[in-house]
Assembly symmetry: C2
Homo-oligomer: 366 residues x 2
Amino acid sequence: MNGKKNERAINFGAGPGQLPLEVLEEVQAELLAYKNAKVSILEISHRSGDFKKVIESAQARLTQILNIPDNYKVLFMQGGGTGLFSAVPLNMMTTGTADYIVTGSWSSKAAKEAAKYGKVNLVVPKTSQYTEIPDRSNWNLDPNASYVYYCDNETIHGIEFHDIPETNGVPLVADMSSNFVSKPIDVSKFGLIFAGAQKNVGPSGVTIVIIRKDFIGTAMKICPSILDFAVVAEGNSIHNTPPVFQIYFVGLVFEWILKNGGVEGMEELARQKSQMIYDIIEKSNGFYSCPIKENCRSRMNIPFRIKNDEKLENDFVSGAAALNMLQLKGHRSVGGIRVSLYNAVTLDQVKQLSNYMIKFYEQHKN
Amino acid sequence: MNGKKNERAINFGAGPGQLPLEVLEEVQAELLAYKNAKVSILEISHRSGDFKKVIESAQARLTQILNIPDNYKVLFMQGGGTGLFSAVPLNMMTTGTADYIVTGSWSSKAAKEAAKYGKVNLVVPKTSQYTEIPDRSNWNLDPNASYVYYCDNETIHGIEFHDIPETNGVPLVADMSSNFVSKPIDVSKFGLIFAGAQKNVGPSGVTIVIIRKDFIGTAMKICPSILDFAVVAEGNSIHNTPPVFQIYFVGLVFEWILKNGGVEGMEELARQKSQMIYDIIEKSNGFYSCPIKENCRSRMNIPFRIKNDEKLENDFVSGAAALNMLQLKGHRSVGGIRVSLYNAVTLDQVKQLSNYMIKFYEQHKN
């Protein structure tokens, strides 16, 4: 196609993140005219038969990937995770109160947004240092809550749930933006799952929502149409013009996942990749240190410090960039280094980073 | 690049609409690696220096194109025009009431959405047949309205304002989705202008907002963060992850407009293109008929009937498609034919359609 392929680096960014090269190449090849449509996918009518196929096949592939039961619907929305922070209470806070399990920045933001629309009950004690999921015996769950909300993977702090919280029958809502389709999940345990595309499945600009059908149609009267699940569901996500390009793109990524072992394949890959990095951290005698408790360390985003030394960390980041490994600087609120290992990051790319980490350790350990 | 270029037809669709081929080719060429960033524009961090340049140059180009005064800000939002239907009252209905000039489907939908958040005063009499802008001497403007809302070009009905409504000092809000940057406008006369990109400036998935700065910071408490102008403005449209690709794309279209004579060039082109079609309609002795009053006919979307004969209209559409002229079917609520002539539709393409219309008339006039 063109020389640009050879100019690509390894992208360890936390999102927008690296996308599968095969998908990018397919998109590039048909960018001027989509299949037999004679217009670009960027120009195609959202009410055309061609786009109907695009959206329905994306939904069918995701249904296959996650084995989504019949009583759920897949929606494509706009506004990212932040849009869902409002949409969830606006549609689902029917008892006037909801439970929030705050384990990092993103669930904290979601709780703050929900408080605009009703009472927010904090399930775990407030903290500014997110390093663990507090023990479940101490959770303060409200049986009257409309739902229990949590973030399955905190992108900034690197905290991931490795099992599904028990809520004693209260519907569960999960933000899976940064670990979406990276492991099998039992969808039937959830009232709603959402994910911004820009981590594991596509470019920014679309949010995927998997919703149990009985949560469609219960929005507050003040709910804006674009955030009303009933409005979005009624037109199969084309009540108003959707982000056509992003829906097309995530459909191709879903196809790529199916070709590469499905979520089981993604999970095995994520296990191997993250293990490689955590092993180096553990064997470095404190040179590298990850503040997160071992039972909730994320397979997607690994934050660590290097001797708590900012100068050394900057050297690490710039040395990596010189070797074409990009976006390793930690989030400004946490500092240090962050390695994001989304589905499209290959094992070989992580090996390159591992080698660099070992070399850097050898050079600077004393 | 590839053969796909030769597969392209002429797209007279109402939106998503045809985009400039030069821009599509540029996007295609650098899709795997954006300039020197070593990652695709689809993978680039919205907080990177590269993207900062993308967004700031898009804002600067639009400011140049429309000569936007200093006391205005350009925002990029999500949710399309429908998102703004909610955002406008949620941010600006500070007196509890607003005026809506309903001249077609889109302003009607906006008024309906606004009624969720306060009192909507209808400025012109209710109608189900949108064929004119009622005479201004009969307008019922409320001096206590927070703002006066109107749709500058009704995409479905083909009604366009050819001057700016006088509101006696009440702030003016305009939906310019389907005639954005197709003519010079005096921005200083508006409190807010918005436009979904997917007509004149890009793919669907981003909404451009031009807002006078004193309307930032007055949102109701129930306003979702993604629709709160203050939240969006504070981070220069990256409070949360924006639709990076669409912002990049519209920036390139703005550059293309500047290279092609600016809005003055676009206006002259729109005048020539629409005149060509209206002339054929007028000279057809009623064979082609446009129901819209002459003083408010749209230069962007031209709806017409062919002898009020559906069968003939279907023949027209399929005959055009056989000649690679697509998307000429009228909106389902109006019927007939609709020709959309957005900025990227060339004069030569409209000439091809004109020739076809003349031939079709000759063949079927008796």
